[in-house]
């Protein structure tokens, strides 16, 4: 083995990002601790984990810490991450000539190389005190600091290592290759926690660049609550890649991100709340056709890439960049399947009415995305009624359970996704959106006595039994969107989060034409 006093052998190896880097260039004019490690060796992992704590102090003291992994770069990167180590790391593969040049017998082995390029100290295996001596001596780290960073009481203080790969027979090496081959990039992304529980697409630099297209990566869209991560277009593109978006969806994802970051939408509260709501995205305009969104059969039920992945990208944005992960900053009691992602297009082609975007004041022909904090859908079936007055009463009855059956009035916008068969009955009767909305409000009228279930909120408690309330204060609060397949009489309630101006307001943004 290379002994103290001997010159360190020169070495050029692959970085974990794929660049060729020499050990000498990493060391520069200073000292370096070169630590040979291997993924399957528990002592190597112990050394990586514990030296991470002291790496910044070593660096400040002019000692560069460099791990040389006897593994391919992807395995080495995984080892570093799983040990929560982020100091410099290089990868060495067969025939392990650098390890052989250093005559490494076991991993971990650490060589302290002086500014003159000579080896000063060699540590085989893990020895807390030996590393503490290096930190205190070579890097002039104060003893208090060393004791704080490398706890003298932490067990084990000593641990022998494993056989170094350059010493293994061909047969034993073959068995380590099987372990290397078991690395799975999708499992790796689960381990990183970059997922909502479903597989995600690895956000490689080239995929993210394709997602961005002509957009500049460093443009900021603001801060994503609740965890206050800054949303650059690059991070948004990462979320879109992870979610499985095609690059042609990115303008929609960008406009949707802008909509949910509008303070009126209150993404902080939508994410934090114990309620089950999540961002619901409704798309209007020509972009629907360009990216083949589904506004027809099963439009709320997945199996369309654009619908499924645009909604998911926005949820990953609040969950990852905004750190709104369930159990931490997402405090939802139940959640609901729409919180994985909820995006659909309005079926403007079958609708007799102005689109949601037009109703919200956007120019005909522009593509617009609208964000709404909505609960999971509730189906309101009415296949029997042949009179539109009857259908609208059924819809009102269904809608009156929004938030809670006894919670009157809501005092907030409520979305109904009206199916083509129901809307055609309204069209035949010559009813505008407003006509239907007014009938829904009226159809929700109840005697206060009928709303007295359990302990009362402040609204019904102060009223007489015979007083009457409607679920909504006016037709302005009824938001009708037409979507769904042509057959079947099912209108959907997307109930809102809390009202009275406390919760969330719908927000819309124009989608860039690219």
């Amino acid at each position: 083995m290379i002994e103290p006093g001997q010159p360190a052998p020169p070495a050029t190896l692959e970085s974990l990002q794929g660049a060729r880097i020499s050990l000498e260039s990493l060391r520069g004019d200073g000292k370096a601790i070169v630590l040979f490690v291997e993924a399957e060796c528990p002592t190597s992992r112990l050394a990586l984990r514990r030296l991470q704590a002291v790496s910044a102090s070593l660096e400040r003291g002019g000692v560069k810490l460099v791990a040389i992994h006897q593994d391919p770069p992807d395995v080495a990167a995984h080892t570093m991450r799983s040990c929560e180590a982020d100091f410099a790391a290089l990868s060495e593969t067969e025939p392990y000539s650098t390890s052989a040049a250093f005559s490494v017998r076991t991993v971990p082995t650490a060589f302290l190389i002086g500014a003159d390029g000579r080896v000063e100290t060699v540590i085989e295996g893990w020895s807390r005190d030996a590393f503490a001596d290096i930190a205190a001596g070579a890097a002039a780290v104060a003893k208090d600091d060393v004791d704080r960073l490398l706890d003298p009481a932490a067990k084990p203080a000593f641990k022998p290592g494993c056989a170094s790969k350059n010493t293994l027979s061909a047969e034993l090496l073959a068995s380590t290759r099987a372990a290397e081959a078991s690395f799975d990039e999708f499992e790796d992304l689960f381990e990183r926690g970059w997922t909502d529980g479903l597989p995600v697409v690895p956000p490689t630099r080239s995929r993210v660049a394709r997602m961005l297209g002509d957009y500049r990566s460093d443009v900021s869209l603001g801060i994503v609550p609740p965890g206050t991560g800054e949303l650059t277009l690059e991070r948004l593109a990462v979320c879109a890649v992870l979610a499985g978006c095609h690059p042609s969806y990115f303008p929609v994802v960008k406009a949707a991100a802008e909509a949910v970051l509008d303070p009126a939408f209150n993404l902080h509260g939508v994410t934090n709340t114990t309620h089950s709501c999540g961002p619901v995205l409704i798309v209007n305009g020509p972009v629907r056709g360009r990216i083949a969104m589904n506004a027809g059969m099963n439009c709320l039920g997945g199996w369309n890439r654009a619908n499924a992945t645009i909604g998911r990208a926005i949820r990953l944005l609040s969950g990852l960049t905004g750190r709104g992960t369930p159990g931490l900053l997402d405090r939802s009691t139940m959640g609901q399947p729409g919180k994985i992602g909820f995006c659909f297009a309005e079926n403007e082609e079958v609708s007799p009415w102005e689109s949601l975007a037009s109703a919200r004041g956007f120019a005909q022909g522009s593509s617009v995305v609208t964000a709404y904090a909505g609960d999971g859908p509730l189906t309101i079936s009415d296949h029997y009624s042949r009179d539109p007055e009857q259908v609208v009463r059924t819809i009102a009855l269904g809608g009156s359970v929004a938030f809670s059956p006894h919670f009157y009035p809501l005092v907030t916008e409520t979305v109904f996704v009206v199916c083509p068969e129901h809307v055609s009955m309204f069209a035949e009767a010559g009813w505008s959106k407003r006509d239907v909305a007014e009938r829904i409000v009226e159809g929700s009228r109840r005697r206060v006595a009928d709303l007295r279930t359990g302990d009362q909120g402040p609204f019904t408690a102060s009223l007489d039994d015979d007083a009457e309330l409607t679920k909504w204060l006016s037709a302005d609060e009824i938001v009708l969107v037409v979507a769904g397949g042509r057959a079947g009489r099912f209108t959907m309630l997307l109930a809102p989060w809390v009202g009275f101006g406390l919760g969330s307001q719908m927000t819309s943004r124009v989608i860039d034409e690219v």
Binding site: G18, D74, T204, G229, E230, V238, H268, L320, T321, V498
Partner: protein, 92 residues
């Protein structure tokens, strides 16, 4: 392997030190912050009484405008200036 780009903003992970723990609540100003959920008043009154009678705390009450949004800076500043300890107390 091609490098991955992270969806996280590492700056948002910066850890802040906790305030030093109070040795005792006796004689200390403890503010109970209502987030304005239903029935908060009853809950906080009960809690305040326990803190005052059993632990000798000087209890005061404050509130933020709504449970659905973060407390505005002026509320945080008021709490910082006027209390040795704050309990953000939920209800429901």
């Amino acid at each position: 392997m091609e490098e991955y780009i992270s969806p996280f903003d590492d700056r948002s992970l910066e850890r802040r030190a906790l305030a030093p723990r109070l040795e005792s609540l006796s004689g200390k100003r403890v503010t109970l912050l209502s987030i304005r959920k239903p029935k908060t008043a009853e809950f906080l009154a009960e809690l305040g009484e326990i803190l005052a009678q059993q632990h000798g705390a000087l209890v005061s009450y404050d509130e933020k405008p709504t449970f659905t949004r973060p407390a505005p800076p002026q509320v945080i500043e008021r709490l910082r200036a006027g209390a040795d300890a704050v309990i953000e107390a939920l209800a429901d």
